[in-house]
């Protein structure tokens, strides 16, 4: 009886252990892929200060992330000149907004229209 239980246990456990051992490399592979993607796409920061986007022109690749950080005195936003392409909420002082790059773009602060910036594809 005891031997039968042991054999039954092995029969049940074996497939489970087998499946786990097979799934682990896949998981590692996915992790590696993610790590590779992270390495390919970089993150750049545009500092909003002294009523300017710094840098005003940023060279980027599709898939990169751009973070805008408001270090100015007042609230700003980031709005594409191309209607509806992208726009941030109002960025209060000290706040950030980020976006994944899909194309080159010209943008401005719609609160202070003299503030302008560009994302240029490499």
């Amino acid at each position: 009886m005891k031997n039968q239980i042991t054999v039954l246990g092995i029969i049940i456990l074996f497939p489970v252990l087998f499946m786990l051992s097979c799934s682990s490399p896949d998981q590692k592979s996915t992790d590696n892929k993610t790590a590779t993607e992270v390495n390919i796409h970089k993150t750049d920061t545009v500092i909003i200060q002294q009523m300017k986007f710094n840098p005003e022109e940023l060279k980027v690749s599709v898939g990169d992330t751009v973070v805008w950080l408001n270090k100015g005195m007042v609230a700003h936003n980031v709005t594409s000149y191309k209607s509806g392409a992208f726009y941030s909420d109002t960025l209060n002082v000290g706040k950030t907004w980020k976006m994944a790059v899909t194309d080159s773009a010209s943008y401005f602060c719609s609160i202070h229209p003299s503030m302008q910036g560009k994302l240029l594809l490499k």
């Binding site: 002294q50 009523m51 007042v74 202070h112 003299s114």
Partner: protein, 181 residues
């Protein structure tokens, strides 16, 4: 440099004296303003533009003018908040003075003029005044308040406010052009 400053101050006096604007002659004279006086002038000058914005928000139906007035109200309040936070930290009490009093007197005249207008005439008068007022304020901050400020933090706050006022001026000029069409 001294000659340049004198010329700039004279130019501001001329701009101010030709209109309802109001950086008074006392702000341009050679007598140095103290930090409490500078704090008072800075807060008063910002408060005046908030009051103009309130009139615009009450009277204008032009979307551009309304958006601009909202920005003026928020931005100048932000400058006041930072100035008040700084003088509180420094233990400086803003001191009413001839310049801030004269600013208020000039603002009363401008307010009366704005209140008397309506429609497109109001929009034009408000935006024209914003162009003239910001021009005068930038001149006064650059040639009087910044050079006279003794405390470094007060000096730096005034310096960092100049690009904001210049952006406001550019924005006002954009609307002025658009209203002229």
């Amino acid at each position: 440099m001294k000659i340049f400053n004198t010329l700039t101050k004279t130019a501001i006096c001329l701009i101010v004296s030709t209109g309802l604007l109001s950086f008074p002659a006392s702000a341009q004279k050679s007598q140095k303003l103290t930090d409490p006086e500078i704090a008072s002038v800075a807060v008063t000058a910002n408060k005046i533009d908030i009051d103009y914005a309130k009139i615009a928000l009450k009277k204008s139906k032009n979307a551009q003018v309304i958006a601009f007035a909202k920005t003026m109200a928020k931005d100048h309040q932000a400058v006041i908040d930072q100035a008040v936070a700084l003088v509180t930290k420094l233990g400086v009490t803003p001191k009413n003075n001839a310049t801030s009093k004269s600013l208020m007197a000039g603002a009363a005249k401008t307010t009366k003029m704005l209140e008397a207008k309506k429609g497109r005439a109001f929009d034009k008068a408000y935006v024209d005044n914003e162009v003239a007022y910001h021009t005068a304020v930038i001149g006064a901050v650059e040639t009087v308040l910044i050079p006279d400020a003794s405390n470094k933090e007060l000096h730096d706050l005034l310096v960092s406010a100049v690009p904001l006022f210049k952006a406001h001026l550019e924005h006002a000029k954009m609307i002025q052009k658009s209203l002229a069409k």
